[in-house]
């Protein structure tokens, strides 16, 4: 069986079409690699782990932000069309410039350990942390930083705001809900546009790590901001 795969080529500003033989279990990235090896090796594409762990190979597949390494060919009936993530500046073909996300992380107030654990000589025997307290932050630590939620977010996609986007709220929440972190980040989130989010949950839908971004990260953070402002 063959499948038509169309890939965006930035220099020509159009899609280039290829016919790729399909094997059972094949994912979109397999097809792209096949194209590189058999038809056109100049297509710029970013990848790394090919196992849905690193989050490098995000693209818009038939209009939806997805990981190429995790999207099964047999999950799509129509021809497959691969575009770069729209919200980023294009570097070449499917590769986009995500360097802004690094800058946002740099600005974000990082993890700071609570005072009773900050003593350098404290042994683990005294550093008791319980499973029940860990679970909440662990959900956000599943984030593979694949940028898909940012691409799906209509606040970022369609409006010019300073909203840092779901991925960065998840990161912030992973600090905030860490039981041994002492820092307060509501000012950071408030200044960086979290209120623009109107909880349409698109980010949750596209998250390949199945993090309940809106319900568990964004809404609780918004509530914390409101609590503080009311007080």
């Amino acid at each position: 069986m063959n499948k038509i795969i169309k890939i965006y080529k930035s220099q020509e500003n159009k899609f280039k079409e290829f016919e790729v033989p399909i094997q059972e279990g094949m994912v979109v990235l397999d097809a792209v690699i096949y194209i590189l090896e058999h038809f056109d090796s100049t297509i710029s594409v970013r990848w790394n782990c090919k196992a849905a762990r690193c989050g490098s190979c995000g693209a818009e597949i038939n209009g939806l932000p997805k990981l190429m390494c995790k999207t099964r060919i047999d999950s799509i009936k129509e021809d497959i069309e691969i575009k770069p993530l729209k919200i980023f500046k294009n570097v070449q073909d499917i590769v986009v410039d995500v360097s802004d996300t690094w800058e946002i992380k740099k600005k974000m107030p990082g993890f700071e350990i609570i005072n009773k654990f900050s003593n350098k000589n404290i042994s683990t025997k005294e550093m008791k942390i319980y499973e029940i307290d860990v679970e909440r932050a662990q959900e956000f630590k599943k984030c593979i930083e694949c940028f898909l939620c940012l691409d799906s977010c209509h606040v970022i996609r369609e409006h010019k705001t300073n909203y840092i986007g779901p991925m960065h709220v998840v990161k912030t929440a992973s600090f905030d809900m860490n039981p041994i972190d002492k820092k307060i980040r509501i000012d950071f989130l408030d200044k960086n546009g979290i209120r623009y989010c109107n909880v349409t949950k698109c980010c949750t839908e596209v998250c390949p790590a199945h993090i309940k971004i809106t319900d568990n990260a964004i809404i609780p953070e918004k509530e914390r901001i409101n609590d503080k402002k009311i007080l």
Binding site: Q23, G25, M26, V27, L29, D30, L36, E37, F39, D40, S41, T42, S44, V45, R46, W47, N48, C49, K50, A51, A52, R53, C54, S56, K70, R72, V91, Q92, D93, V95, D97, S99, W102, K105, K106, G110, F111, I113, F117, S118, S123, T124, K125, M127, K128, I129, Y130, E131, V134, A137, Q138, K141, K142, I144, E145, F175, N178, P179, I180, D181
Partner: protein, 592 residues
Amino acid sequence: MKNKINNLKIINTDILIIGGGGAGLRAAIEAYDNRINNAKIIIVSKSLPGKAHTVMAEGGIAASLGDVDDKDNWKVHFSDTFKEGVYLGNYKMIEILVKEAPERVYELEKYGALFDRTKEGKIMQRAFGAHTYKRLCHIGDKTGMEIIRVLEDQVLKRNIEFLDELQITKIFKHENKIIGAIGLDLKSGNFILINCRAIILASGGCGRLYKTTSNSLETTGDGLAMAYDIGCELIDMEMVQFHPTGMVYPLGVKGLLVTEGIRGEGGILLNNKNERFMKKYSPKRMELDARDVVARAIYNEIKIGNGTEHNGVYLDISHKGASFIKKKLPAMYEQFKEFADIDITKQKMEVGPTVHYHMGGIKTNPGTCETNINGLFAAGEVAGGLHGANRLGGNSLADILVFGRRAGLFCSKYINENKRANFDIMSNLLLKQQINLEIRRINNYLSLYSFKSLKNKNNNNLVVYELLDLLKSTMNENVEIIRSEKSLKNALKVINSIKNQLKNIKVNGTTKYNRGLLACLELENELKIANCIIKSAIKRTESRGAHFRSDFPKTSKLWKKNIICKKQNNSLKLTLVKVPELSKNLKKILAD
């Protein structure tokens, strides 16, 4: 010669760290915290920040905290590691590893890592192959990701520059001292020359030399090849670890790791007759014997016709129940569901051996991570000598932290003590010529710069993939779990023929994010490493750990030796060095 080279950007730093995985990040943190005079530190990585192969580490980090089994201590960890490395590992390195691993784990906690916990609020530790006690601290089966994230948080807090998607292609030395490196910035297509006083190589292994591997696509051994090129000594190159359990199906994920954590949590191996075959091979330890033993057992079961439909064996954890599996092995649950339509809470997995780790690598000073080149340090998988002939699960995450830190520490000491200014590479005619040559070497792969190949523009530009495929399948078939002089010499022949064809390879496109060009660079590097691995494997006429020779199936006392590879007068020279005698103290520990 012209004074300026086109498209060449020059950057200055004190310390250059090549590799953005766990070892590189940990090295950067330590180098930064110990620097004086505001020494500058740059990390370069060929992938984006936080995407390095460390994210793939699953099962956990080995450290004898004794949080679950209170009998555990560094001595038992030492003895496990040394014995399972079949007495080839460097005992000084092992001693450092096992003594410092607990500190590094606690430190991760202080960086914000959240390990799975015991009821008492201590760190949960799981059983793993050939570890005497429950020793692996873990975060489900995503331990590596947590490690890379918290290290990244620490890097972000410091004034450390991170240059991503910059592939270093050559390191420069002058009078046996490191002076800089050159690389290709993928996003702009520009060449970048980095003048520096010291380099820490933390560029990972070379699993992608093989067709079936658990390694990321970027694990192509660039660091090893670059170090070899400038005369750096490599050790134990023949020691390639096959992980017993990789996915065998579907084809696209063949080789993808199935964590040892599954067996650690109670998973069992079965053949097509539903026999728990490890009884035959290792009645005491069963599924939790060392990786080389379990991998050979699986290999053998498949060879004698007891394999499954897709040439593997079965791994079954379904008896542990759905909620346990989803909590302790979420990534595995997901991986099989998404890629193979298998629900591991109900169904058996099909697994088979996959290339996982390279015990061999750059020979370093056991305590300081220094190599035989002044100012060149190495840590993590790219370095060799620690794990000997077989690596225990969880020891590599300990390795990247313990020796990453040490590389950073001793590298900063080195630059603090050697207060020379950066060497201006461009002012030295000979070195400038070397830079020109390096740029030409890379540009030569582009049909853009060649008149001849313009004619056959559409035919020849994909040959590189055929050659890469040939190299990888040759390694798969001839330099595998069980080797012989015949198979190894056969591989050598193929590699030499590929080397000859390499000269004529051309690809289309420019230097900007060109996958075809990167494939050429990968092939050239991999050929160099393959040559070292195969020749060392031919030399070692015995079987030890991961290196099993069908023509020399026994372990020989005479072979308590390391094989050192070094480039001399443009060819590979092998030297044998006796494994150092253990100190009395450590001998006693082994005897106990």
